[in-house]
Structure formats: C-alpha cells, structure tokens
Amino acid sequence: MATTLTGESIKPDILKDIAVPRGVIIESYEQSDENEIMVVNMGPQHPSTHGVLRLVLELDGETIRKATPHIGYLHTGLEKTMENLSYYKALVVTDREDYLSNLINNLAYSLAVEKLLDVQVTPRARRLRLILNELERIASHLIWLGTHALDIGAMTIFFYTWRERDQILDLKEMMSGVRMMTSWICPGGLRGDVPEGWLYRAQKFVNNFPAKLDEYNRLLTKNPIWIERLSGIGKISGEDAIAWGMSGSSLRGSGVAWDIRKANPYTGYDEVEFDIPVGSNGDVYDRYLVRIEEMRQSIRILNQALKDVPSGPVMTSDRKIAPPPRAELDTSMESLIHHFKLFTEGYHPPVGEAYAACESGRGEKGYYVVSDGSSIPYRVKINGPSLKNLQALPKMVEGLYIADCVAIIGSIDIVLGDIDR
C-alpha cells in the first residue's frame, strides 16, 4: 500500500507500471516474504575487510545465510614476475606478498633456494634470521591486534599497537635503511650485518614490550564487551580446519598443536625453548588468546636468542653464490668477474625443485621453487596461508550476524597480498 502526502491511498499493482511521482511514500510493493534473501556486497572497498576482499553476503534480515568471497582484486602476477627475474632479484618480489611479515617471506624463499643450491648459512646468519623472524612475528601480531580491535570498536588499541610496531620498523630501518620491504634475508645469508648497537636496541625493545602487552591484555581480555563480541562465534573444529587446509594461529585456536617451528625446525628454532599456545573451542576468542600468548612466547624466544649471538660473517663464503666484498673488487680480477656474473646473470642451481616452509603470523608460508638449470627460476609457487584460511570463512560465518562476520575476518588474520599475489 502507498499513500500520497495528501492522504489518498494508491493500490499496489498500479505502482508497477507508473513512474513514482515525488511525494509518494512506498511502503511495500508486494507481500513481504518471510524467507526473503537480500544480497549485499561487502565490497572490495570496505574498512573492515582488511584489504580488497569482496564478500557477497546473502542476508535474511541481518543473519548471513551464505557468504561467498571473491578475490583477485590485488592480483599482480607476482609468480609470473618471479619467473622473469634472476634468483637474487626475485627476492624483492617476495617482500611484497605478505606485506606485513616481509622478512618471513624472504626467509621461506631463501630456504627453498638454499635447498636447491645445497648451501649452508653461517651461524651468525642463522641466529640473526631467527631474531628478525620473531620481531617480524610480533610486528605482524601487533597489526592484527590493532586492526581487529578497531573493527570490533575498541579504537584506542590501534594507536598503542602501532606505536610498538613503529619501534620494530625503526629497528629494521637501522639495519637496512628500509622500514618495511627490506629484502634483507637472501639466499646465502643476510644482505649485510646489523650495525653496532642494534642488538642492544633490540634487547631494549624486548625488555619494554611485556609491560605494553600486559596493558593490552588488561584492556581487552577480561573486558565483558570483548568477550561478548568474540566468544562463541566463528567456530571450526580441528578436523575441519585441517581438511580445509588452515594453518597457523587459526588452526591452533581449534586445538591442533601444529607449529612448523616445532615440527620441522629451521634456522635454529630447535636451539631455543618455547611453547605453542593452543586453544580449545575454535572460536574467535580462542584465536585472540592464542595470538596474545604467541607474542609472549616470541619475547621468550628473543630473550634467549639475543643473549649470545655468534660472531662471524653473515653471508656464506661460497663465492659462486655470495657476491665478494666491495673492497676486493679493486684488487682481484676473479672477484670482479664473480661480482659481474652474479649481478648480471646470477647463480645457476641444478635442475630440480624444492619446497621450504616457514611459520609466519598467518600460517605455513611456503615457496615451491622449480629450477631448470638456468639463472632464472622456472616456476615459483607461493603457498600463502591466508588463501586457505579464507576458504574456510563461508563455513565459519553461516548463521551469524554481519558484525560477527567482521570479527571472524579479523580473527583469521588475512592479508590480501598473500591471497591474490
């Protein structure tokens, strides 16, 4: 039924044929259906989708009946790009995938290429790689915490976590000159040694951080609004999570104690002691608790790792892979030739393939590198954890409200660079 401003009523079936004049208020075109599904786009541009993710939600009121993620808005063909650059140059592409944990991507790629080349890194490089990885994990979890809290509505946490993360970015800048895309971990070791005072500054950060983490804990963990918003939603069981290929903190929140750092240790993780936090319910609150505890365990690892860092070179001495020091280029012809060949053509791994995986903030970050004997990788497949974590989203979100959907997207901690590449 519709009424004009003067009070006359217009019968509904006429309304379908005429253009609606100004001043007519339409109440309903037809009888409202109880099972009416409204399709709403939580479009690629949205403050809460953590990137360019498009969710097509089929809503019944505010309850989601079905959610379909559409990805590919950030696809830039990074794998094809890497197939056209030499192994050393392809390293800079790896920073840009999971753009919130750059050094972990670098490490996974470097481990795969080092496996192909069959080269060992020096002890100092192993220890520094571990320290950088743990700092990167803390930075990644801080961003997760800030943005997740921002989505739920607790805006202050965002500013605090960004302040802490900035200290880590300052450390990366002190080391490499670049705040985010350092590409500092390369096949063979590190691109350069950390400057004097870096380890002292890192230790200072590690000493100050637990107090800040307790601050966030006090603000959120026992907060009744936080618990009300987060617990009981987004449940997924352990077997389902494994079948859907989830990994990382999202899997550990469902009770599966799998961490690549413990299962297949790399870069010296078997020399430090730490625990893996595991949730029990598989809901959003458990994943939150798992990540907070992971930050504490990272501090524990860092305290052990920063204690006695071995001295020595940070790059392997194999001159077929590592460029010679610049000073030698003036005196040695062989160094000059090595330098030239390494930077123009690159090293040639043997024909074969290798897969190496690291535990990033999101899960199993792996690189599958196929070599055909030339200086350019033949195929690089980037195994991003966020793709498989996001795949399980429609299952977790069915029957919940849109506000819960926002919380669940935040809890699985996706980065669109990892998904789309």
Binding site: G77, A357, Y368, D372, N383
Partner: protein, 199 residues
Amino acid sequence: MVDFEIRLGLSPTDLTVRESQNKRPDDWVDLDAEKDVELRLVTENFPGQVLKSRMFRDEKTIWVKRDNIVEILRMLRDHKETAFNFLSDLTAVDLLKMNAPSEERFEIVYNLYSMSSFQRLRVKAVVPEVDAVIETVERVWPAANWLEREVYDLFGIVFKNHSDLRRIQMPDDWIGHPLRKDYPMGGEQVEFSFNVRKS
C-alpha cells in the same frame, strides 16, 4: 611483437646452455620401492600408475598418471602408515620451456603433509596439453577447491566434477591463461631496432 627470449635478455648461447642442462641431474636418486613406504603403497595398490620417483635434497616426489589420482591421494590420506591429512599446496607447472613433449606438458603438483609424522611428500600427476583434464580432489581435501580454481584460471587445466570451476584471480571475462609459458609477460615492450619487425 617482441620475442619472448629477447624480452628476457637472453642470448642464443644462454638458450643452448639451458637445453644441455635439461638432462637428468646427478642428484637424481630413485626411491626404493621396497624400502620407501609411500612408493611401496602406491605401487602395490595401483600397479602401473607410477611413472617415476625421486629423492632430491631429502624431498620425495612420485610421478603418477592422472587416471586414478583421487584414489591414490585418498589412500595416502587414509592409510595409517602414511596419514597425509594436510594438503599443503596444489599447483601446476608448465613444462613447455623444458622441452617436454605435448603429452606431458603440465604437471599437477600436490604437496602433502602429515600432521602425525611431520613428513612431506610430493605427488605429481602428468597432464597432456590437448585434453588437459583431471579429476578434482575436492572430495579428499576441501582445501583443494580454491587451489584448483587457481590452477584452472592461470593454466587452463579443467578439473572434472569440480563444484564451482570458474576464474578466481583474473577477471571473469579474461581470455587466456596467464601462467602458461607461451603467454607473454605483458606490458608495453620498449621498441628498439633489433626487436621491431619491419613491416
């Protein structure tokens, strides 16, 4: 417009070097069918399906034909001695530039992981260029859904009985499959006199 090889900056000598290196490398070690449990299970239960096997840098790889791939993977997932319950990665490799014959152009690579024994295994199914079809493993691991969609999108390999096979990364109306080796890198080529075809 510009040849693929010139775009890469390769000279003819580089190309001949690549061809000569495409021979069986010295680190190729065949897996032992008696000792190695995965290979033994696959050869016993699916005779004639295994093409070759390899151990390279402590990673095991088994090449199989594409006919019974779903049953092979299901057996590897369910058998108590292997228990590969986690599909770590599903991808494809286009072997066009490695001088592979047209019947073996694509390899679908399944990187499997066992949560109980922390072991990895790689199973590869060989798919020809014409009739590039293979059965979907979605029923074995639901994680394969989007991964197979990505392989279809970027390589053009069709997965039979897939619940929702459509493009995932590229726009829906894109023509062509970008990660194939005969698909150009894209972008505007800088025209020099050596690479512009005189018309």
